[in-house]
Symmetry: C2
Subunit: 373 residues, 2 copies
Amino acid sequence: MFLERTPVTDIHMRTIAFTRGVPPDAAIPVEQLMACQEAVLKADVGVLQYGHKPGYEPLRELIAGEHGADSNEVFISNGSIQILDLLAGCLVRPGSFVITEQPTYDRTIATFRRHGARVVGVPLEADGMDMGRLEELIRREGRPDVLYLIPDFQNPTGSMMSLAKRRAVLELAERYDFPVIEDMPYRRLRYQGDELPSLRQLNPARVITMSSYTKLISPGMRVGFSIADAGLTRKLVELAEATYLSPVLLTQAMVYEYIRRGYLEPHVRELIALYRPRWQAAVDASRKYLPEAGLTAPDGGFFVGIMLPEGARVDGLLERAGKAQLGLTAGASFFADADDAGTIPGDRFVRLPFCALEPAEIEEGVRRLAKLL
Amino acid sequence: MFLERTPVTDIHMRTIAFTRGVPPDAAIPVEQLMACQEAVLKADVGVLQYGHKPGYEPLRELIAGEHGADSNEVFISNGSIQILDLLAGCLVRPGSFVITEQPTYDRTIATFRRHGARVVGVPLEADGMDMGRLEELIRREGRPDVLYLIPDFQNPTGSMMSLAKRRAVLELAERYDFPVIEDMPYRRLRYQGDELPSLRQLNPARVITMSSYTKLISPGMRVGFSIADAGLTRKLVELAEATYLSPVLLTQAMVYEYIRRGYLEPHVRELIALYRPRWQAAVDASRKYLPEAGLTAPDGGFFVGIMLPEGARVDGLLERAGKAQLGLTAGASFFADADDAGTIPGDRFVRLPFCALEPAEIEEGVRRLAKLL
């Protein structure tokens, strides 16, 4: 399959990039996508016209069916960040109050802030948010306009929200009457353990589900989707039409054709087979070279998150790493700056995206990181 | 070529839609696009990855070359409305002052308003804006943050800005120090007369040029571009990355391949051959059935705009047209509501997009319209 090995001999020369969560080129099913796009263009010139403003209709129906939703609850757009931006446009105003996990996806913090929201992070534990801190925060500061979570293999920590916490967060959402966004682009990439119900499965009325085909098929196709009540979905579609008129339909139709042909399930199995040894290498290397660090050993996804011990030498870490041919992302960007404890340990946080690197590169990268501290 | 004729016998039964400016399906070069996308995917898996945040790099360079610009002045995005939204995000704030032609593209008014701008329209004449009114407005209300124009075959009137007015508007822009957006999606579709220099050709430093391949290749591919100074372009790219991360690259690469293969120029000639009789029919029918109306007979583009005479029966026109199987767009939506004269004749304005209709349908549609007044 797609296990092209590069020679391990030159690994000490190579730059190793633990920067963004990008799949390797070899994980993109180019041949199948070529077949799909030819079929799509032959079948329906409509994908080259304006139209399907809520997203390519057959894909809407397919996603609705998979999630036990109605197709008028499904919205498909040019990638899930675009959806988050439109959701922010519908749900928040300057001064709105948004709660996220801490740390969380840096672009989520930036998106809600760009729309004028105050974003507060609640510390994340290995099994999800610190629920006591969440409730305390809501009691003190009032009902949030949105709570944003990545329950499965969280970005950037890899953490998995337990069933008890999933239930507890939804009870809070009921009690204080706020919507919960669950962002689940990594959910299908599980390397061990059992799947837990999604928040939507537990309480569809409270939950806005978001995901995309970026991590399962291709990032460049920019096909993301949301599932929300029909009223909010209608607002999203209206704002989307005002913003970009119609989405790019060709890639949405290609995703539909890809799934319709039965290509997705075997491809996900191949991805898991490709990524599992990389995940294992990231966990093992972190334990081996950084035994003092706080590690959320994930069961799936794209990331291992590491909290370096207090006192680790983190000043100028990115620059020093760059000189050692090691690419890192600034840990602080994953932390909303209004941590209710008042301390932001972001400069000690390191995210290791492992999917695009080979096991030997991952081990070498973590070894280089440890030497810098 | 693509002149598939439908029988004229049933024309009186048919719904005739003068609603949006959409090319007919037959004008979309599906076979060539299929060849292009296959070539693109074979050549570069990169179009399925994240990347090329300012737009597909080879297409940026090609557009820059065509317009005598530097590639770092070119930004390509998911359609030109998306670019207008991002431009508004960079150039206006709540309370900003934007001037447009009156009437103008309805989505432009809506986009600037959504960003909080006050939009004022300056009456359009057959050869462009009323320059006296424009200068009077600026003297009275101060420098605008943006002036937005469609100099070639304007939407919705078809009007063409004269060379004298192009020069005059740029002199005003210099004197009062404001940027001018020229939106030129229709420029290549000229059915008679000679091309005038674009505003960019007259004064590149003052002008933000926007266009797209929607009217020349396909709307659904959503490939629009802007040319602006490198500083503003950098801001656009940053806001775009924050909003949707990367654009959909596949369709941008297809457009590049389409042009690289030399397909565009003959296709534009075919489009002109297809649209010219439709344009002629729209102009002729307007003169024949609405001789009292104010008509800007355009030399190209997608639209004939008609100002019905005072006293024409326009109450409930859209509903009455609908019952007569005639689709119309509300004329008032093309008028910013702060016309400095205080009178908005939008309810007497009718836009006739003619490209997607056959000559006989156009004549029948205008005949139906005349009977309703």
